[in-house]
Every structure is written in structure tokens, then in C-alpha cells.
């Protein structure tokens, strides 16, 4: 594994990643909804090269792809308490920097700054949205499924928000656990 700078020189590697690297077909899984207890369960660290987690990575991408408007999906959302999630904000109008479709295992925040409040929704909490303050500049590190490479990269805006939302899932937290106050949760008016 090559060393990388604190701010992450692995952006190109992550952007070039596609699920085709996994070498197996993803299955569309059922997305679980709160109050399913798995959504409140911290995920175990995984071996990103083990077949079961490579399969889960492919399944998460396949499930995200068939879900309208879905920009990310964590293992907990398909009923597995593990530190694996996928993200793809490339089609979202609020995205600035983005890395296309990618899956991270055992991801952690390295640096976070510039808090910004915005309204979030979640496939596992379909009836509510909530105002959540999150960092809009983010450096994350994690492992790619399949090869297990450790990648560290910087992102911002909507991709930063999506990554923090998915990393929260992997720790057993929903956006509901981060809402700004008693009037920061809203019944959802429109469904994607």
C-alpha cells in the first residue's frame, strides 16, 4: 500500500472505482425501515476482501441503483450491522465535488470543518425529514471492497453530507439522532 498525504491523494482512485471491480452481480435487497433495531446497532468492522462483504458491497450498489433518488445506502439499511456503505451523488444538483459510485468499508472521518445545516431524508425513515448540521468539508479514510486498499480523500458539500449520513448508519445512528431541535423534524410531503 502506498502512503498518502493527510488530505488524501486517493481521489482519482475512488472516482475511477466501479462495482464492476467486484466481479460479481449485486442483488437487490429489501430496505428495512425504522424502528427495525438493526438501524440502531453499531456495525462490526469487516474484512473488505472477504467474499461475504464483497457480495454485500455489490448488493448495496444494486439496491441503490434501483431506488429512485437514493444517493447512498448502508449495510444496516439492508439488515446487516456492518461498517459498509455505498454512495453516488453524481446526479444530485447539490453535489460539487463527487467521486461517482463507490463503496467504503470501515470508514472514518479524518477531518471535518465548515458546518452547514440542511434538510435530510432517508429511505429507512420514509415519513420524516430533518434539519441536520454537518461538516461541508470532509476528509475520510476507508477501505475499498475487493482489493481492500486503504483510501483517503477530501470532499465537500452534498457528498460530504452523504458520507456522514452513511457513516452514522454504520455506527447505529439515524439522522433523527442529529436533528437540530424539537421543530427540526418534518412530516415528508413529497415522495421520490
Amino acid at each position: 500500500m502506498s502512503p498518502h498525504s493527510p488530505h488524501g491523494t486517493d481521489s482519482e482512485r475512488v472516482a475511477a472505482w466501479t462495482e464492476a471491480e467486484l466481479g460479481l452481480d449485486g442483488r437487490v435487497l429489501e430496505v428495512v425501515r425504522a424502528p427495525d433495531p438493526v438501524l440502531a446497532t453499531a456495525g462490526e468492522r469487516v474484512d473488505p476482501t472477504a467474499e461475504e462483504w464483497v457480495q454485500l458491497a455489490a448488493d448495496l450498489v444494486a439496491t441503490m441503483r434501483v431506488s429512485p433518488g437514493c444517493v447512498g445506502l448502508a449495510a444496516q439499511q439492508v439488515g446487516v450491522a456492518a461498517q459498509v456503505f455505498c454512495v453516488d451523488v453524481s446526479e444530485h444538483p447539490k453535489a460539487r465535488t463527487h467521486h461517482g459510485t463507490f463503496v467504503l468499508c470501515n470508514a472514518e472521518v479524518v477531518e471535518a470543518s465548515r458546518n452547514d445545516k440542511a434538510r435530510e431524508g432517508c429511505m429507512s425513515v420514509p415519513d420524516f425529514t430533518g434539519d441536520v448540521k454537518r461538516a461541508s468539508r470532509l476528509v475520510v479514510t476507508g477501505q475499498l471492497p475487493g482489493t481492500g486498499e486503504q483510501v483517503t480523500f477530501e470532499t465537500d458539500a452534498f457528498e460530504a453530507r452523504a458520507l456522514q449520513h452513511e457513516m452514522d448508519h454504520c455506527q447505529g445512528f439515524l439522522f433523527l439522532d442529529r436533528v437540530a431541535g424539537a421543530h427540526a423534524v418534518h412530516p415528508r410531503q413529497t415522495y421520490l
Binding site: A34, P35, R178, G181, V185
Partner: protein
Amino acid sequence: MTAARLYAVTVLGHDRPGIIAEVTAGLADLGLNIEDTTMTLLRGHFAMMLVCSTEGADGRVAPSEIEHALTPLTAGGELDVSVRPVNDEPTPTTGGSSWVLTVHGGDRPGIVSAIVREVASAGGNITDLTTRLSGELYLLVAELDLPSSADPAAVEASIKAAATDVGVTATLRAVEADDL
């Protein structure tokens, strides 16, 4: 000039367009000044609470006059209106810390009671609280102040333990205010 008086007005019942317009027109016609207000829908029912002052009416408005002005709202039998005088309440300063509490999980009776009992026993004061039920999911979000004598970590631990007992999860976070 008579000292200004405060009245609490509550309106509850079947929702329809125009309730707020009618209530506020009735109060404005009496020269009342609306101060703090909260209005929402509770499982589809209209719910309004407000405090208004007679300051703009030289203090010369009796509760019966306000009730009379709002009588048309209650004529259909679908809305209840109440008016009562209230004292000026100074906003207490706790000197403590402000927190946001989120509780969510499967619905069952007793969740709110089990959680807020722990807040109260720590001397915490809940300043705002919303609960929502959607399908199986029960959600409570509260804003609360803890006195400086309270140990936030201990309060959080007792809330989490109470939450576990009723099968839900709880998260307590410090309020972050970004002064600009």
C-alpha cells in the same frame, strides 16, 4: 392607563383553511397584540396556543370580549376555544447547559413518561418537545436545560437506560449555537 394584561388563547379541533385568519382577525379587531404563538397539526387536528397582550388596547379588553369575538369559530361545534388571563412570566436563566434529546423506536405506551422522568429527576427543564407517530415508528425530540449541578454524562446514561427498558434508543447532544 390600565396596565397591559396577557391572555392565553387556545384553539383545538377539526382543521380547515381559514382558522388562523379568523382567530387573528378577531384578536386584531380588539386591538390585541399577539406575542408568542405555536400552531401545528396533531394527528390532523388543528392546535393553536398563543399569548396576546392588551397593550395595544390600553388594557381595556375583558376575557369575555375575546371569547365573544371568537364565538363564530365555535358555532359549528368542531372547534374549542378557551381564553384565560396569564401572568407575565420572566424567562428563567438556568446558568446551566442546553441539550437536544432524540428518542426513537417501536411505539408502545409509556415511552415519553419513562424518558422525561429521568430528565425531571436530574432537575432538567424541558423547554420544547415534539412527538410524532408514523406507522410503527415513535419519535420524540426535546430541547432541555440542565442545571449546572447536573452531570450531563450521568443524565445521558440514565436516559439511555430508561430508553432501553422501553425498547427505544436515546441520544443526548449539546446545543451548538453558532453566533455570527
